[in-house]
Symmetry: C2
Subunit: 329 residues, 2 copies
Amino acid sequence: MTSVDVARKAGVSQSAVSRYFTPGASVSKKMAEKIKVAADELGYRPNVLARAMITGKSRIIGLVVYYLENQFYPEAVEKLSIALQENGYHVLLFMASNTIGNVEPVVQTILDYRVDGIVLMSVSMSSTLADRCRDLNIPVMLFNRDQPREDMRAVISDNVAGGRIAAQMLLEGKPLRVAHLAGFEGASTQQEREEGFRAGLAEAGVPLYARAVGNYHYKEAAEATRELFNVPQPPDALFVSDDHMAFAALDVIRHELGLKVPQDVAVVGFDDVTQASWPSFNLSTVRQRLNTMVSACVDELIGAIENDDHPVRKVRIEPVAIHRGTTRP
Amino acid sequence: MTSVDVARKAGVSQSAVSRYFTPGASVSKKMAEKIKVAADELGYRPNVLARAMITGKSRIIGLVVYYLENQFYPEAVEKLSIALQENGYHVLLFMASNTIGNVEPVVQTILDYRVDGIVLMSVSMSSTLADRCRDLNIPVMLFNRDQPREDMRAVISDNVAGGRIAAQMLLEGKPLRVAHLAGFEGASTQQEREEGFRAGLAEAGVPLYARAVGNYHYKEAAEATRELFNVPQPPDALFVSDDHMAFAALDVIRHELGLKVPQDVAVVGFDDVTQASWPSFNLSTVRQRLNTMVSACVDELIGAIENDDHPVRKVRIEPVAIHRGTTRP
DNA sequence: CAGATTCTTGCATACGATTGCAAAATAACC
DNA sequence: GGTTATTTTGCAATCGTATGCAAGAATCTG
């Protein structure tokens, strides 16, 4: 079923059919009616790919995500995808987990599909690739990650402020030994959260007692937690760089070490994923305002796509303290 | 950068460039070398969309998923996406959660993109739409859901067998009052799991003591659990139709009602998502062999795409009992 | 009602590739 | 080396739609 078939059936030109399906094009009521009837009868719908060839706009957004195990990502993907759908765009999904550390070929493939824009979720991009996208005039958004380049759009939480909030939440419980469980140290989120956390502690004159790295993975975080607590004087307060690792930490603390939370040790996470509020975890955490982040991401991205001189900026969202059962008031 | 540019630069015809990028086409070494040099220099890569128009193959798979809150789906999406990537296909993602109960327009939109195939993840399809896809010769795979139609491909666990397994796992603990927490009753998975579960109980001469519906949602499942246990003689064994709801049930049982699992009540879930093995839940469950399901899905789908007379069949995978800490041996 | 203005409509071309066909070039064989 | 068989290569048509342009129809104006 092509526009030519519809045109023949309706007794009009192919251009007329095309115009009927192009919002804003000029078609008389008479024609419109004839075309509508013919199109419905034949079950015709315009071929998006052919349209993309002419207009140079595919209405496809390439989304690269590292993995979906951490619940933060499915939530973000779902909301982002819905928001884009509502704007007439659709998501071509790329998992980067199997090509570890090498987003290069993935992004190449994305470009082959002539996407209108790219969202990198907690993934970063080499400078040459960023240049390439700029040359091709394809906007790239970093979501929940930042890069030094000034000409790179990004939507992130104010992670430094978030780290400070975490420090305050723990300090309210008058801790004696404060520890930090870090995520992947190459990530801007980790660097900034730790910076804010350390600053918050320093202002209160409290030293950082211990530190271990969980690389944003459950298993590594569990191992790091054992390392932190397998000492004569274990910490009594712990800031974990995301909820996903915090669950690992809680599992070890409660079920392996038999410690009481928050009496023996207080824990604060980051993200506020859905499960953080489940009674099994009841995790105090620093919320990333995901809905706000997603709208900002969509606004900036679509703005950049549809408007060539849309300014390049980094959107920074304020995080929020969420007090639950793993901190002492 | 088009193939014409490359051709001009390399001093060959445009067809030659096209052939160079078409695996299996005949190009002499001499030409190949010239084209390679020119293409690399210009950074040329074939336009997938233009290719799709000619060949009628977009190498895009439309994936419809209802929601991503239940961890089973992110895991499935991730694995499926990776497996398709490895076969040179890519996933166009559609969330059906905002268009509740109405997949119609979503699938229409998918068809507009001229996808090569469609995967419906725990979503079903009206008969007219199925007809439409058949007429367009676009294979559709149901993943983790079945429909009565014989001409509809599906990859599912043997849910009846799974229900039986759940019954056995609970019966080993010699329960007195066995209850069932059901998912969405319109879903084939629910119907079959319950059928198998009831059959398993019946064979042992054990009656079903109580039943409530959680619709595969956490909150509704929590509410349904309260309903089940807010009686003088609460159940001492519970089969929940998926892990996601089982987490809700466990949260209520342990943290609201203060009951001991498995001493006061044994619980069995279904799926074996990652978190089921976390100490906080330590959930005994019936595993769906996701890797097997995904490979089967990919094999059947790609088979159907690349081979017109690929037989239509329903692949049924055997589930596996996973004994953990929520059942009595 | 004639003339000026605005809307509609069809023609023809373009987007960036693939592919059947026939001519040219190469390989194979005696 | 001549003849035949096989590859390579370029030409030209094609996929399904959008859109600039000019001509025709409709509307407006005094």
